[in-house]
Structures are given as structure tokens and as C-alpha cells.
């Protein structure tokens, strides 16, 4: 009897001590690795850690760069087109054109990560994602150059045009395309000579359109970064934290965020879909045509996609490393080969080969990556019945 009366308190003290230590570790682990993203689930696997690093060191920086370039274009446009003066120059226009190309490349760097704030509905019905307002071709693959051009032509001579109205436009009329048309051609006859374009700015209210579209785009890009980092859909929490802790399902049921899809599959599906987009849509005849920079844009998106696998200088556990460490080096090699082949076709600017290589990369991601990560993308969606 004495034996037990002595042992039980000792055991209780020991157990409490162990529990306290364990709890301390949990509380000390409030950050996932060194990503700055809070660990709220307490159950972060090695794969989650690798993906958290992709979020922190690849995806969010890509969003931030897009936002930075959008703000930079907005700022430059205000210099080029001040409200009260008309002193546009060809040199100033070249600066804007180059900045548009840089911004478009930055946009393409975000396209492999088409989820979260980029997918947040931006219309009243909750059906049109934010990214459509930036790049309408990405959602419905319709080249709207002619319709946007026509609208610009009529607006620049409309004395009642109010640049603030652009914030109310539907997605078909906003984003990078109207900015490209405004910067790279004379709206009335599509001439691309710098002097001709500048002259149109001097003769019409084209500056109002330029300022209005740039302002809307910069607001969208700002919201995207805020959503990723700080306050997603008025929750007071950044999307990255909810995403990696798989808590979106509990915050939302009324849109994509409540779909119950776990972060790993969402991440892989997004990468896969981007490869399919490059493979199946003729970007070279539908995007960045006036700027003649579609190859740069495609290249940016592939570099961004591969960086999600190889990591950044801050990354401790890249996706490639994770795949290799888990004994799937062959899979990692096949993925690397897929990227290498695709990069070569882009360097050669060969459309057909690029589309074949992009489809091949899509297939590799669907099979090798899911196999290496031991992730199922679903059962019902994959084969029709």
C-alpha cells in the first residue's frame, strides 16, 4: 500500500513535467520552420513544411513582385499623365511600355499559383475570380483585343468619361489587356509609332483611361498580397496561414475556400493546371501580342514554377529535396527533365514543341509528383463515367 502512495505522486509529477515540456514545444513551434507563417494546427508534416516554404519564399514573393510592379506602373503613369497637364514624351512612353512588360512577366510568374486570393470572387455573384479581372484570357480563353480596343476608341473621345467608372467594369474590360492597348498603339488606327501614340495622348482624354485602368489593377494587386499575408476575406488572418494549416474548410463554406480540398492537392493541381494552360492555349497568338513579349512571359512562368520545386536561397527543405529524401529520386529526375525540355523549347521559341513539352510536364506532375508525395488528387474527377 505504501508502495503505491509513494509512487503515484511521483508518477504524477513526472507526467506533468513531460506534458509541460511537450506543451512548451508546441507553443514554441508557433511558426512553421522559419517561414513566418503561424502553426495553428500543431500537426505540420515534413511535406507541409516544404510547401510552407514554397508559400513563404516563392509564392508570396511572386505576388509581392507583381504588386510592386503594378504600383510602379501606376506611379509611372501618374508621372506620364498628370491630371492637370499634358506633357507626354516618347521617352516617357517607352518607360511605361517597358514597365508593362515587366509587370506582365511578373503576372505570369504568379499564374502557376492560381488559388487563394487570386481565385477570390471579385463580383457580386461570387462567380468571377480576381485573376479574371487582371487577365480575362486566362479564365475563358477568349481574345478580347478587338472589343477592348473598340471600347477604348469610343471612350477616349467621350468628354463625359470618368476614370473612376473603370472600377465598375466587368472582367472582360479590365486588367493588363486594356493597359497594353493603351500603351502600345494608337487606338484609332492601331499604329505603333511612338510619336503617333503620344500625339493621341495629347489630343484626347486617353490619359484618363490609362490612369483609371492602372489604378484598378494596382488595387487588385494590393488586395492579393494583403489576402495572402494578413487579412483574407475579412477574417483578419492571411490566406497562407489558413492554407497550410488546412483551416479554410472551417472558415468558409460558401465558395472555393470551403471545398475541403487539402493544401497539398490544391498546390499540385494548380501547378498541373498551369502546364495544361501552356499546352492547350495559344498564348503566342492571344497574350502580350502588341508588346511582343509573350515568350518572356511564358519563360517567367516556367522559371517560377520550377523555383517552387527547387526552392529559394532561404529554403531549407525544397520539394525536390523532399522527394529525394523520401526515396523517389527517379521521380525528381523526371520532373527536372520535364522542366529542362520545356525550357529548351521556350529558348528556341518553338510553339509546337513548347506545347508538347508543357503537356508532358503536366503528365509528369500528375503522375510522378503525386506518386512521390503520396498524394491523391481525387478519384471522381479523373476518369469520366
Amino acid at each position: 500500500m505504501n508502495h503505491f502512495t509513494i509512487k503515484w505522486p511521483l508518477f504524477a509529477i513526472l507526467l506533468s513535467s513531460v506534458l509541460l515540456t511537450a506543451c512548451n514545444e508546441t507553443s514554441n513551434s508557433s511558426e512553421i520552420g522559419n517561414t513566418g507563417i503561424k502553426n495553428t494546427s500543431g500537426q505540420i508534416s515534413e511535406l507541409d513544411l516544404a510547401i510552407a516554404e514554397v508559400l513563404a519564399f516563392n509564392i508570396i514573393p511572386a505576388m509581392e513582385n507583381f504588386n510592386f510592379q503594378a504600383q510602379e506602373l501606376n506611379r509611372s503613369i501618374k508621372e506620364f499623365c498628370p491630371v492637370s497637364e499634358k506633357n507626354m514624351t516618347e521617352k516617357g512612353l517607352v518607360v511605361l511600355q517597358n514597365q508593362w512588360k515587366t509587370l506582365n512577366n511578373a503576372w505570369f510568374s504568379t499564374l502557376p499559383f492560381l488559388f487563394g486570393p487570386l481565385e477570390t470572387p471579385a463580383d457580386d455573384l461570387g462567380l468571377t475570380p480576381t485573376y479574371a479581372y487582371i487577365d480575362s484570357f486566362r479564365i475563358d480563353h477568349i481574345n478580347r483585343t478587338n472589343s477592348v480596343r473598340s471600347r477604348i476608341s469610343s471612350s477616349i473621345n467621350d468628354v463625359n468619361f470618368d476614370e473612376n467608372d473603370i472600377a465598375t467594369y466587368t472582367y472582360q474590360k479590365t486588367g493588363l489587356l486594356p493597359l497594353e492597348i493603351l500603351l502600345f498603339e494608337k487606338s484609332s488606327n492601331q499604329e505603333q509609332a511612338l510619336a503617333t501614340i503620344v500625339d493621341e495622348y495629347l489630343q484626347t482624354n486617353k490619359c484618363s483611361l490609362l490612369r483609371g485602368h492602372a489604378s484598378v489593377l494596382s488595387d487588385l494587386s494590393e488586395n492579393i498580397v494583403t489576402g495572402w499575408k494578413e487579412n483574407y476575406r475579412l477574417t483578419g488572418t492571411g490566406y497562407a496561414e489558413m492554407f497550410i494549416n488546412n483551416t479554410l474548410d472551417y472558415y468558409f463554406t460558401d465558395n472555393l475556400d470551403g471545398s475541403g480540398e487539402i493544401s497539398t492537392t490544391r498546390f499540385i493541381t494548380s501547378l498541373k493546371n498551369h502546364s495544361e494552360y501552356l499546352a492547350s492555349r495559344n498564348i503566342h497568338t492571344n497574350s502580350a501580342l502588341l508588346a511582343n513579349s509573350y515568350w518572356d512571359a511564358i519563360s517567367s512562368s516556367i522559371m517560377s514554377t520550377e523555383a517552387a520545386f527547387s526552392g529559394s536561397p532561404k529554403t531549407k527543405l525544397s520539394i525536390y529535396s523532399f522527394i529525394s529524401v523520401t526515396g523517389n529520386t527517379d521521380n525528381a529526375d523526371r520532373i527536372k527533365s520535364g522542366f529542362s525540355a520545356l525550357t529548351t523549347t521556350i529558348e528556341n521559341e518553338n510553339v509546337n514543341d513548347m506545347q508538347v513539352a508543357a503537356q508532358s510536364l503536366h503528365d509528369i506532375i500528375e503522375t510522378d509528383l503525386t506518386s512521390a508525395l503520396n498524394v491523391s488528387l481525387g478519384l471522381n474527377f479523373s476518369d469520366g463515367d
Partner: protein, 397 residues
């Protein structure tokens, strides 16, 4: 330091886990014992399993008490598809193999076991769905002739499940089949897609595919009427030529609703195609949605279910991660609900909920009046992969 700490944590986990494991085992045994005698319960049945080692007929009991609900499996050895309950013998549940499978299983809910299996006849393969006659004496299943590709309807008596007759489906690739409210007419979705077991599920006739909705007399097999989604019907607004009618449901008043799957690779353009169609008063009518919603459905509807009480029809699209609901009378879009890889779609016995299932083992309940999710009813069975179709079964005796 690190390894010492990890060891202590492992020890702690083990210490805490042992009694919990024992408790779980006790609960499982207790639940399984109760299952064999629980005849007033409501169950959800579905084909499930991610690979050949796990293919089975799965079910969930206690669905009205989420904290008590448990899932169970009866191995089928093949990937199942459609599930049906015998209306005259409620404990009898059938699961058909997925195309181009060759088997079906007969499950007894009282015994909670597979009690019989049946094969399709030589040179045929099943297409995944079946339905009972209203007296429960006959089972009608969709099949295809391997040599000719012609769609067939086999008729089996439901004691031994021997085939007793065979009809034409009047098309290629019949898929879902249901009994009309008159009890005499079968309605069949001829998908129009030719496949052959030698080439798996590859579609062999994309350029000539011919999908149709067909009504057939269940006694004679005679064709009553056949309907196609021609462009003329829809005023040339949509190119429906590559839309395959795959799934359907029948309302109590005889309205038939269909879920389509578009063979996009065979289409000359990116033009959107509506995926929900109704056949009412001998007219085909579209259930439309805003373009961005239709686009998200990704050319694919996987299941369709009517709630006769609320006059609502639900559709699921696993490729769009969406469930969508329309009003059956004014054809207006009512709501949509995002759910990853959703396909299973059923109704609770009291018609209060649409029940959705997905391949990660999750089940959600959508209030049929509000068309919003009742989160308190959520079920999750991490080891289950619910396949395309889910059926609610209620035993009343």
C-alpha cells in the same frame, strides 16, 4: 538534445495512445455488434476504394448522429459504380461494376454481407447502372455487346439474378437507367460513346458519337421514344453534338433530368455547353447558369438527384468541385456549393438534406430548403474513398 527531446515526445505519445487505442477498439466492436440488428437505421451506401486492394461496397451507419456514425466495407474485388435498393425487399442492395466490368454484387443489409454475385453474359460488359421493377422482381442493367458495341439492357430475376431477357438500348454506351413512375417504362441515357475492353475506357467514336434519351417498355423492350440534343432544339445557341447524356433522375410527376459530359477534345471550339437538361412534356429544356459557373463545371456532371418535396434538382461535378441546384418548375438556378472532388449525391430519407460525398471520405449535408450546408452534420472517414454514386437506404421494418 534534439533526439532526447524527440524520444520523450514519442514516449509521451505512446503512453497517451495506448488506452485510447483500446477504447477505439471497444467502440468499433460495440458498433459492429449493433449494426447486425439495427433495422430502423438510415444508411449511406457507395462504391468505394482507391485501388484493387480496397475496392468494396462501403456504407455508413448512424448518419443522423455524426458522433456515432461509422463506416464499413464489404470487399467486392472490383471497382463498383451504381447502387440500388430493391423497393420490395429493402434489405437487398445491388452494386454494379464500373464499365467495362463484368460483375455485380448482392448485399443483404440485415446480414451486413455480400450474399450473391452475378456476371454479365459472355461477350457483354456492364455499363455501371441498374434499376429494379417496382415489384422488385426484376433488375434491369445497362450493358454493351463487346463485339458490336451495341447497347443492351439485360433483365434478371432477383432471386438468383439469372438473366431472363435482353433488350436493345437503341444506342451505344447506355449508362444510367431508371424506372418511370408508371412502373412500365424504362428511361435510359445512351451516352453514345463507343468503348471496347481491349482499349480500356478509350472512346473510339468521338467523331460520330450519338447520344440519346430513350424510353423503352420494360416488358417487351419496344422503343417508345428517342430524343437527341440537337442544335435545332436549342435555337442553334449551343453546339450539343459532343454532349453525352450519362446520368438521369426521374421526378414523381415523370419529369426526367439529365446530367451531361462534354467530349471537349472533339469540339471545334471553346464554346460553353450547358450540362443540365430536363425532359418535360415531351420537350427538352436547358437548366442554365452564368457562364463562369458553367465554365467551372468543366464539361462534366457526375450525378443528378431530384428532391420531389422541394422541387429541387441537384447535380454534382467532380471536375468542377461543385454541387449545383436548380428549381424543377421555373428552371432557375438556386445555389451552388463547393466541395472538392464531389460526386456522390443522395437524399436523406426525410428529404431534408441533399447528401454529398467525395473521394477523400468526406460527406456533407445540404439543407434542401436553404440550400446551405449544415456543418454540424459533417462526416469524415479518412480511410474511405467514396466513388461516383451514393445511395441513402432506410429500413423501416
Amino acid at each position: 538534445m534534439s533526439s532526447w527531446f524527440n524520444s520523450r515526445r514519442s514516449l509521451l505519445k505512446l503512453t497517451l495512445a495506448l488506452p485510447i487505442t483500446g477504447l477505439i477498439a471497444t467502440v468499433i466492436n460495440s458498433r459492429q455488434a449493433k449494426n447486425t440488428s439495427a433495422l430502423h437505421e438510415e444508411f449511406l451506401f457507395s462504391a468505394q476504394g482507391r485501388d484493387s486492394n480496397h475496392y468494396s461496397l462501403g456504407w455508413v451507419d448512424n448518419i443522423k448522429a455524426p458522433s456515432k456514425a461509422m463506416s464499413h466495407n464489404a470487399s467486392s474485388k472490383f471497382r463498383g459504380h451504381g447502387v440500388n435498393q430493391n423497393p420490395a425487399l429493402p434489405e437487398q442492395v445491388i452494386m454494379m461494376s464500373r464499365r467495362p466490368g463484368l460483375q455485380g454484387v448482392v448485399f443483404n443489409v440485415k446480414k451486413m454481407a455480400i450474399v450473391n454475385t452475378f456476371d454479365c453474359k459472355a461477350e457483354h460488359h456492364f455499363q455501371g447502372h441498374s434499376c429494379f421493377s417496382s415489384d422488385g422482381k426484376f433488375l434491369y442493367s445497362t450493358e454493351s455487346s463487346i463485339s458490336t458495341g451495341a447497347g443492351k439492357i439485360s433483365v434478371r430475376e432477383t432471386t438468383t439474378f439469372k438473366q431472363v431477357a435482353e433488350f436493345e438500348s437503341y444506342g451505344i454506351g447506355p449508362h444510367q437507367i431508371e424506372l418511370m413512375p408508371d412502373g412500365e417504362t424504362l428511361v435510359i441515357a445512351n451516352g453514345g460513346l463507343l468503348t471496347h475492353p481491349d482499349s480500356g475506357r478509350k472512346i473510339l467514336n468521338l467523331s460520330t458519337m450519338d447520344s440519346s434519351l430513350v424510353y423503352v417498355n420494360r416488358h417487351t423492350g419496344n422503343l417508345i421514344s428517342q430524343h437527341r440534343l440537337t442544335q435545332e432544339i436549342f435555337d442553334d445557341d449551343f453546339d450539343m453534338s459532343k454532349a453525352s447524356i450519362r446520368h438521369l433522375d426521374v421526378a414523381a410527376d415523370g419529369i426526367v433530368v439529365m446530367g451531361l459530359q462534354v467530349q471537349r477534345k472533339a469540339m471545334p471550339s471553346d464554346e460553353l455547353v450547358p450540362l443540365a437538361v430536363m425532359h418535360k412534356n415531351n420537350q427538352l429544356q436547358l437548366l442554365t447558369a452564368p457562364n463562369n459557373l458553367t465554365r467551372q463545371l468543366n464539361d462534366y456532371m457526375g450525378s443528378v438527384k431530384i428532391n420531389n418535396k422541394t422541387r429541387t434538382v441537384g447535380y454534382t461535378s467532380p471536375r468542377g468541385n461543385l454541387a449545383v441546384f436548380w428549381n424543377l418548375d421555373d428552371l432557375s438556378l438556386q445555389a451552388f456549393h463547393n466541395f472538392h472532388d464531389v460526386c456522390g449525391l443522395s437524399l436523406s430519407a426525410d428529404n431534408k438534406y441533399f447528401i454529398l460525398s467525395n473521394s477523400t471520405g468526406k460527406i456533407r449535408f445540404i439543407d434542401c430548403k436553404l440550400l446551405t450546408e449544415d456543418k454540424t452534420q459533417r462526416l469524415y472517414f479518412a480511410h474511405q474513398s467514396w466513388d461516383n454514386h451514393m445511395l441513402n437506404i432506410h429500413l423501416t421494418s
